[in-house]
């Protein structure tokens, strides 16, 4: 009985520590104007993604070709103008937000869960298992991330699902390394010893004690990786290996508008700005978080 | 030339941070005679290192700032000098040994070059001559000169501290500031390094400020002692005066915290409590909330400076009305 109460007590201790820590982090984060700007922008994008149907009609404005209205400059009816098929660029950017954020988040989740699992067991158990996992990851790391993603999509075929798999898999080694390092840094702390001493098994120790206490660098890394994944997705779409037309996606909008830049530069202006804003906002948040989590590094 | 090598008067140094102002040094006065060694004693956070960095004019700014006061070294007003003049003085007239030898040496430069650098700057000699002198310096601190081409990671902690000492003494400074030079070392190595410093002090005939929290080290090396608490000197005197006629309750507390080898059954009497919050120092005596002799006046008024001899003074209310007041804890 006392065993159990001790477990709960230990856990509560760690939890209260966590809670006060996160309040502290939030307090420091609020002080950073750049992080707050980033947060505001990404909330705006989330809002656009969530309420896309209320902002613009998918079939009518973002997909249907309208030859009579093609290549119109920004105006009150089409605030960002229209593209080479007469589709409203603003509507396509709004709907593109859904794809970018969704694919970005899912692919980072894939990378985080597989890479995180590999990194956690490698770091926690060490020895041969660690060695084996890290050697395999070295192979993946020897291929530049975007090239690995391109290769995977090239083999599997271009689709939204394959795009998520490709970007996700190519980010596995990065996450594995970060999680492994984070686990290594807390593995020998005394509260882990304490948990082991009161009979917690490895799974409980990893999931309830090691991971929550090594979360900080992982959260920062994940935030930055969502940013680079959004960039990766539009890159793949730009070279025709990602989201296929006519589905609105920022990168493929740029690819489509490329031929018209001489006279209609707004075609590539706005989708590009959308990518920059989304990626920049996440980078701002990631930077702010890192400073807030580790004030001495500022 | 005055017989005072270093004279610090009413020095005030603050660190201005987002969370408030840290009053690290508040009206500090010390003097060091030529060729003499002053022990600056106090616990962590008393402002000892800040004092040392002030003499070097190396207080990191921001957040640190020398607010007021004066520092006179060898007749020069250090606070009035520009950066170029200071660069000529640092390493030449005054040198400093830092606390942690593990981090005090540049990991990517050979120890010989690190010693030779100071020589080349101040003695206007060429690379070859400076390297030769660097090897001699290594020999002086007890390291074979042929190791001068090695990098810091190839030396042990005690050896590194010897290298740091060699750097500091390479231009024969008039004043050496040693900031806890033995704290980071193993006990056995501590004694060796201390012995080395003692002999070099004589050999080079330099004045020294030895910063420490260890009264044993003070007894070993120093001529004068200044006890520092919360940014002020609370008691100062010759080694003998301070060790035989303890006046300040804090000094007494420091002595009572040392284990007595002759009487092992005797209980240690550590000073209770912690040093006052440097962001928010008390209005009266900074030590009063930890003091066994505290009186009401201690909380409201800054204690006066009371002299017992030309060299021995204390800052304490206890002696204001009765100079012969005796502290109750017996001396060992």
């Amino acid at each position: 009985m006392s065993n159990k109460s001790e477990v709960i007590a230990t856990e509560n201790l760690i939890k209260t520590k966590k809670r006060s820590q996160s309040a502290d982090v939030w307090r420091r984060l609020k002080k950073s104007p750049t992080a707050m700007i980033g947060l505001a922008i990404i909330v705006l994008f989330l809002f656009m993604a969530l309420f896309a149907p209320l902002i613009a009609d998918y079939d009518d404005e973002a997909i249907k070709m309208n030859v009579r209205e093609r290549l119109q400059p920004p105006s009150t009816t089409h605030i960002f103008g229209t593209d080479e098929f007469g589709r409203d660029i603003f509507a396509r950017i709004v709907w593109g937000t859904r794809i970018s954020l969704f694919v970005g988040l899912i692919s980072v989740s894939i990378a985080l869960s597989i890479g995180g699992f590999l990194g956690a067991i490698a770091g926690y158990y060490g020895g041969r298992l660690d060695n084996a996992i890290m050697r395999v990851l070295d192979v993946l790391l020897a291929i530049p991330t975007i090239l690995l993603a391109i290769t995977i999509v090239a083999a599997l075929g271009a689709s939204v699902l394959n795009l998520m798999i490709a970007v996700g898999v190519s980010n596995i080694p990065g996450f594995a390394r970060v999680v492994r390092a984070a686990v290594l840094s807390v593995k020998d702390e005394e509260f882990i010893e304490a948990a082991r001493a009161i009979g917690a098994n490895d799974f409980i120790i990893i999931v309830r004690h090691v991971l929550p206490n090594s979360m900080a660098p992982i959260i920062v890394f994940a935030t930055l990786k969502v940013a680079s994944s959004i960039m990766g997705i539009s890159s793949l779409s730009f070279i025709g290996l990602g989201v296929q037309p006519p589905t609105p996606e920022w990168g493929s909008m740029l690819a489509g508008g490329r031929a018209y830049i001489r006279d209609y530069m707004y075609i590539v202006m706005f989708p590009g700005l959308a990518i920059v804003m989304a990626v920049l906002s996440l980078n701002l948040i990631g930077d702010g978080l890192r400073d807030a989590l580790d004030p001495k590094l500022k | 030339m005055s017989d005072k090598l270093l004279k610090i008067e009413d020095l005030v140094v603050q660190y201005i941070t987002d969370d408030g102002i840290v009053e690290a040094v508040n009206g500090l006065n010390i003097t060091v005679d030529r060729g003499k060694t002053l022990g600056l004693v106090g616990e962590t956070g008393a402002g000892k290192t800040t004092t040392a960095l002030s003499i070097m004019r190396l207080i990191p700014h921001p957040p640190g700032k020398i607010i007021s006061g004066g520092i006179e070294l060898d007749g020069m007003d250090l606070l009035a000098l520009n950066e170029q003049r200071l660069e000529k003085i640092r390493g030449d007239v005054v040198s400093m040994i830092f606390q942690d030898p593990m981090t005090a040496l540049n990991p990517v430069i050979t120890v010989g070059d690190q010693i030779a650098e100071a020589i080349m700057i101040h003695q206007k000699v060429g690379q070859a001559q400076a390297s030769q002198k660097a090897r001699e310096m290594l020999e002086i601190v007890g390291i074979p000169g042929n190791r001068s081409n090695e990098y810091p990671h190839q030396f042990s902690g005690g050896m590194k501290q010897r290298v740091v000492i060699a750097i500091a003494l390479s231009c024969n400074p008039k004043l050496l500031i040693a900031d806890e030079p033995t704290t980071a070392l193993d006990v056995t190595i501590q004694a060796q390094v201390l012995e080395l410093m003692k002999s070099l002090k004589v050999k080079f005939q330099m004045g020294m400020v030895l910063i420490t929290h260890d009264l044993g080290v003070v007894a070993e090396v120093c001529d004068d002692v200044a006890i520092m608490y919360a940014g002020r000197i609370v008691e100062q005197g010759t080694l003998e005066e301070v060790f035989t006629e303890v006046k300040h309750p804090y000094t007494e507390g420091l002595f009572n915290s040392i284990p007595n080898i002759d009487d092992r059954k005797e209980k240690l009497k550590p000073i209770r409590g912690l040093m006052s919050d440097p962001y928010n120092l008390p209005k009266g005596c900074s030590f009063c909330d930890r003091c066994d002799y505290a009186m009401p006046v201690c909380e409201t008024e800054k204690p006066p400076k009371i002299y017992f001899s030309d060299t021995h003074f204390v800052e304490c209310h206890l002696y204001r009305d009765q100079q012969d007041f005796k502290l109750k804890g017996g001396m060992k």
Partner: protein, 308 residues
């Protein structure tokens, strides 16, 4: 030193073998039949079957891999399905172009980023630092294919200073090299700044100042060399990102390098060519990392002495 370099080269071999294995298996997942592709639509069933047998396409993937590796060790990466030319000749022809592009880009980034990073760190929180760091973050957040398009619009279509694509002399290198350099410049600047900030707080910087070393020499001699150690790591990683970025930049500027070759080959389902391109990219990246590790040993005596 030689021992260290040899060791690093030996360590590369299993990784490169792993890379070929991995890439070969990923590519083998590509749907479609190579034989019918090569022979075109008019080919008969029998001739396709015959070619399949001849090419060994009916063998298990692992057997095909071993055969591929056997050829690779003799310096043969097979023939293009689309043109019939050898992959070797195509890559040999294109590789120098990618090499010139990426090396100029990394050279450009290092040249710009290290001084800016150092100045930012020594004047932390100054206007220079704040503005510089915001620009750097924006730089990291800009997709190279978009930056490339903007540069084409401004400097080629509007101002007419540079060609918008192709490869005709030095002048056509400028826009793509800049495009490719932007992101890595930004991130090397950030790393240099933060590692400088870390280094200038170290005790040995105080030791140097206490010796009377002047501010400039402290920065150049004592701080920079230490700060370069992490910066070099990032330069190596950035080179990898740069190689990936070359795929996009070469596409935007019609630069005839391996990146563009790879994209074209993917669109044509020219598997041997895709395979060859990826392997060459990975090899280039590994060689860069090797060079970085050797540079390391030159800068950081702690590494050198471990192997001497």
């Amino acid at each position: 030193m030689t021992k260290y370099i040899l060791r690093r080269i030996l360590m590369m071999i299993p990784v490169m073998l792993g890379v070929t294995l991995l890439v070969f298996f990923i590519i083998s997942l590509t749907p479609g039949d190579a034989a019918s592709m090569i022979l075109g639509q008019e080919a008969t069933e029998e001739s396709i079957a015959e070619l399949r047998e001849e090419m060994g396409l009916n063998d298990p993937t692992i057997v095909q891999y071993v055969r591929y590796m056997g050829d690779l060790f003799q310096g043969d990466m097979g023939n293009s399905y689309a043109t019939g030319k050898t992959v070797n000749s195509e890559i040999a022809q294109r590789f120098p172009n990618t090499f010139v592009l990426t090396v100029s880009a990394i050279f450009l980034s290092v040249l710009i980023s290290i001084p800016i990073g150092v100045v930012s760190a020594t004047r932390q929180y100054s206007i220079f630092d704040n503005v510089g760091m915001i620009i750097a973050l924006v730089g990291i957040s800009m997709p190279s294919f978009w930056t490339g398009l903007l540069l084409i619009i401004a400097f080629s279509l509007k101002l007419g200073w540079f060609p918008s694509g192709g490869m005709e002399g030095f002048i056509s290198l400028i826009l793509p090299a800049f495009t490719l350099a932007i992101a890595s410049t930004a991130s090397i600047t950030r790393t240099t700044r933060s590692s400088m900030l870390e280094v200038i707080r170290q005790d040995y910087i105080n030791t140097a100042k206490a010796k009377g070393v002047t501010r400039n020499v402290v920065i150049r001699k004592h701080a920079l060399k230490n700060a370069l150690i992490p910066a070099i790591t990032v330069i190596g990683l950035e080179f990898g990102i740069l190689l990936g970025g070359a795929v996009l930049t070469e596409t935007v500027f019609s630069w005839p390098g391996i990146g563009r070759l790879m994209v074209e080959s993917i669109q044509r389902k020219d598997t041997p060519m895709v395979l060859g391109s990826v392997i060459v990219f990975a090899l280039a990246f590994s060689v860069v990392n090797l060079i970085i590790d050797i540079l390391y040993a030159f800068i950081d005596p702690r590494i050198k002495s471990n192997y001497s």
